[in-house]
Amino acid sequence: MGARPLTLFGDVARWFADPANWQGSHGIPTRILEHLELSGLAVAVAIVLAMPIALYLGHGRRGGFIAINVANIGRALPSLALLAFGLIVAIALGLGLGFWPTMFALVPLAIPPIVTNTFVAITEVDPDVVDAARGMGLAERQILARIEIPLGLPLILAGIRTAAVNVVATATLGALVAGGALGRFIVDGFALREYDQLVGGAILVALLAVATEVSFSALERRTAVPGMAAIR
């Protein structure tokens, strides 16, 4: 304990400069890849599970209380508690440590913002526009695919962004249950009291979270339908 701040800065710079930290299965590139793989897969699974239900409910303009309650429950679930449940489930199913407990924690974490935002995005599409589409003879499925989803896309993506940022942040905790990813540097840094590794890992995780947020925000702006007032 008690590394002095001034020397710490140099230590962290040296940690990043050390070629040994950029190679092999414990290297920075591998850990970043593991982090992206885990997070991407968790968000993808959450989208597959949550999006159809939210689209169905939103299109029928019903089940608003479900969408709101899912959001509230999601907020009350601490990420570490989810990881605890994930660990119990993974061990009960004989799936072991590391990847699966983390996955079981990340998917439920990602579902609430996706459900709520998708539902709100669809229900907030101007009913006149939907009626006009119906009058023009579009089938319900076509109304959803050609009118409601395109118009609601920025808000839907905002939900995926919230989910993705939370997942990227929480994937760090996976190292507590012997997972890989960038949390490894932080958890090992704490355990071994190696501050260069600890702070280096923290910088990488923080950058990855901010990069996720920024790239999704850019995507949201690009998908806004021309002529529609920017939803943000």
Partner: protein
């Protein structure tokens, strides 16, 4: 966690009742300090923003970045400077409350109708009186919505501070992960969720007590 072991060992619960009580108290203390300090800082920044609107974008950008940085990473940044201490935990916890609180305070006060403000001015209220007697009471519902979200978020994040030697109920989660023992895992996880629900209910009651006019419909 061997197959023949029960999910919850009630004898463990009974023999650790005292420690569980202690950790609940610690959880409450860490949360209360974080939300209280967060409120003071957020109000100070909000008043500055309301007076100088140009400050709003930089304030939300900085608090937004703080909010985006994963909690474990933020604690990791702080530990070399402030050690494994309550201070480290609180700096992290407070910084996560700021974005939510400032947004709600500023939007709450800005959403007070200007007619009401004009009427108060016409009745001879000073700017200070307008703030305390008109704007803050009318903005209270929105501000309370922010306090509720900030409190629930903080209760969740307190569990993560177990890694820097604090943690409240998060201590049991970490213990369960190290020993692969489901009873403390469940005590910590279920306990922190119940604690969040209880705190939220308490805040709803407090809000109702503070805004008696909102009940008369």
């Amino acid at each position: 966690m061997t197959p023949n072991e029960p999910l919850v060992r009630w004898d463990w619960l009974a023999s650790h009742a005292g420690e569980i009580g202690f950790r609940v108290g610690e959880h409450l203390e860490l949360t209360a300090i974080a939300v209280a300090v967060g409120l003071v800082v957020a109000f100070a920044l909000s008043f500055a923003v309301l007076r100088i609107p140009r400050l709003y974008p930089p304030v939300t950008t900085v608090t937004g970045i703080l909010y985006t940085i994963p909690s474990l990473a933020l604690f990791a940044f702080l530990v070399p400077y402030t050690g494994l201490s309550v201070l480290t935990a609180e700096i992290g916890l407070v910084s996560y409350t700021l974005l939510i609180l400032i947004r709600n305070i500023v939007n709450g006060i800005r959403s007070v109708p200007s007619d009401v403000r004009d009427a108060a001015q016409g009745m001879g209220y000073t700017p200070r009186q307008i703030l305390w007697r008109i704007e803050l009471p009318l903005a209270l519902a929105v501000i309370f919505a922010g306090i509720r979200i900030a409190t629930i978020t903080t209760i969740g994040l307190v569990t993560v501070t177990a890694l820097i030697g604090e943690g409240g109920l998060g201590y049991f989660i970490l213990l369960g992960m190290q020993e692969l023992f489901s009873t403390p895992l469940l005590v910590g996880a279920v306990g922190s969720i119940l604690f969040a629900i209880a705190a939220d209910s308490a805040l709803v009651l407090l809000q109702r007590a503070l805004t008696p006019w909102a009940r008369v419909r």
